[in-house]
């Protein structure tokens, strides 16, 4: 019974694949976007920008992002898109590995792939668009070093060790602080605000001379902020986050958070699709990667970014 079901499923897949091969050459070219997560504000902005750019370039656009950042769902989406016979794929990978087999299939079908944000090691990737996390974190590092003026230790609350984004963000601030001769307290909170809150509370108790806290994402710095507020140190300890989520921007405006680093999802979506459009036109001078610059948002410019 089960065997029959598998055979049936397999034949449906094969027929589907064959059907996909019969492309109509005059049809508008269709690109498929598979983002990191369809519930994340950053990625929703990025997708909207990608969609707008595709329309402008005369391309059909389909979004096949799943709600969770799940590499298995992404593989299924890539396989589906290949079967549909799309012209190109723009992917925001859920992690650095795991997409390999599906990318092999894209290669076999000759469908170009552009990745956004997280880099995947695969020879078929035509181009990669991302914020340079190290450079962005170094911006934050410079900001902290300048504002501290040589006084106090810096507490770094990192994401998850071994995740490229987390390592880059932590590393950027760490190196700048070390270069300035500042003592760094280095902890990880796995991207979680409650863990960041606990670590901040404990470290503020253990070290009376903490002058600044940097967290590798905004929810974590907001968690740390609660501890700082609790200890009556708001305004005395510099607080810098990363990502510029709406809650963090509101906190910057209120003066409870000093700064956050803003990546540019609008430009990332636009550049990704523009690259794809150029590839589909047959251009050959495609850059292997494009780095998008980040900006520091603090009280002086926060109004530009609050909708």
């Amino acid at each position: 019974m089960r065997k029959n079901a598998i055979t049936a499923l397999a034949s449906v897949l094969v027929v589907g694949m064959l059907a996909g091969c019969g492309k109509d050459p005059d049809a508008r070219k269709k690109i498929v976007f598979i983002g990191y997560s369809s519930t994340n504000t950053f990625w929703i902005t990025l997708k909207n920008s990608a969609e707008k750019t595709a329309r402008k370039a005369g391309l059909d656009f389909a979004d096949m992002t799943s709600s969770d950042p799940d590499v298995v769902a992404q593989k299924a989406a890539v396989d589906n898109a290949i079967r549909m016979g799309v012209a190109g794929l723009v992917i925001g990978p859920a992690n650095s590995e795991g997409l390999g087999k599906s990318l092999d299939k894209a290669k076999a079908a000759g469908i170009p792939v552009v990745t956004v944000d997280t880099r995947v090691k695969h020879d078929w990737i035509s181009s990669h668009v991302a914020t340079d996390n190290v450079a962005a974190a170094e911006l934050a590092g410079d900001y902290i070093v300048e504002k501290l003026g040589g006084k106090g230790k810096v507490l770094i609350i990192g994401g998850t060790v071994g995740v490229q984004t987390a390592d880059d963000r932590r590393g950027g601030v760490f190196n700048k602080c070390k270069a300035a001769g500042i003592t760094v307290l280095d902890f990880d909170a796995n991207w979680k605000d409650d863990e960041a809150n606990r670590i901040a509370q404990e470290q503020l108790a253990a070290h009376a001379d903490i002058g600044a806290i940097f967290a590798a994402c905004d929810p974590m710095i907001l968690g740390a902020k609660v501890a700082v507020k609790r200890k009556g140190l708001l305004g005395k300890v510099l607080l810098v986050g990363f990502d510029a989520i709406p809650e963090a921007l509101a906190a910057v405006k209120k003066g409870e958070l000093d700064a956050t680093v803003r990546q540019d999802p609008v430009r990332m979506g636009k550049e990704g699709v523009e690259l794809m459009a150029r590839i589909l036109k047959g251009e050959t001078d495609i850059p292997k990667s494009i780095a998008i610059k980040a900006v520091i948002v603090d009280k002086s410019n926060v109004d530009e970014y609050i909708k």
Binding site: T39, D188, R198, A206, L222, A250
Partner: protein, 318 residues
Amino acid sequence: MIGDIRKQVIRSAESLAGLVAIVLFFVILSPSFRQWATLTDILEQSMELAILAAGTTLVLISGGLDLSVGSVMALCTCIAGSLLSGCQGQAVMSVAPAVALTLAAGLGIGLVNGITIKYTGVPAFIVTLGMMMIARGAALMLAAGRNMSDFSDAFLVLGGSHGYTVPLSITAAVIVVIALLLAMTRFGFNVYAIGGNEEVARLSGVPVKRYAIACYALGGLCAALAAIVQTSRFEFAKPNRGESWELMAIGAVVIGGTSLFGGSGGVGRTVIGVLIIKSLQTGLSHMGVGSYWQRILIGVVIILAVWIDRIQNRRRKT
């Protein structure tokens, strides 16, 4: 019965001794740990886990298991967050009905868990594992693209915006109510009976299903309450809250000495278990030990606690 109580007191004294030993260890070794602020730090960090674990204690004593409470916390956070965000007059409703609705949601999910387990025969592990995914998915869906912050002051009081007396009192109230429920009422007596031997309890006329379902419902209610305190304390809601908290809660219950297989234990011990976990984390943090080592050591303590328990039990029998 008298012997049981004596055994319970001895067991509680043992975990309390463990807590004292851990605290003394850090007081001696870490100068910064040696201040009164550390005590309030640990209490503040323990509130939400203590509320959650109080519910878990009840479920475990009744012989059940609930893996969904961490995700239920996340869902309740998002429910409260979406009902209350925007204090500039844009909030969906005022604080009291929003809190009541959130608590009702937690209670309702607990009820669904209990009823499904007791009336379909699907094991608690499976039902609550499924509910863990359902609740997490619902939380993510509810949070999609939504900014859940900017709460009114009346809500922020619950998490300690005017001092931590309010959330600490909520925590203490939950613990006292569940402790009294277990120790002084027919409900408590029957819950121990069901956890001890469900068949015997049923044959002696205890409405087993109703009591077991009530335990899951109260567990869900505790998860909702923990979520409310945490959302208020952090001043914003996020769907990734409570990840693996169900296991941390079970860990705290077990370190405290409540049996994983039902029939014995108590909520007072669970509080000791929570304090052991939090003191360990705080103490190690003061000594500059990172969160990965903290996790490893808590894992070791969980195993050690149950091992010591077994040795003591064997000694008492002979």
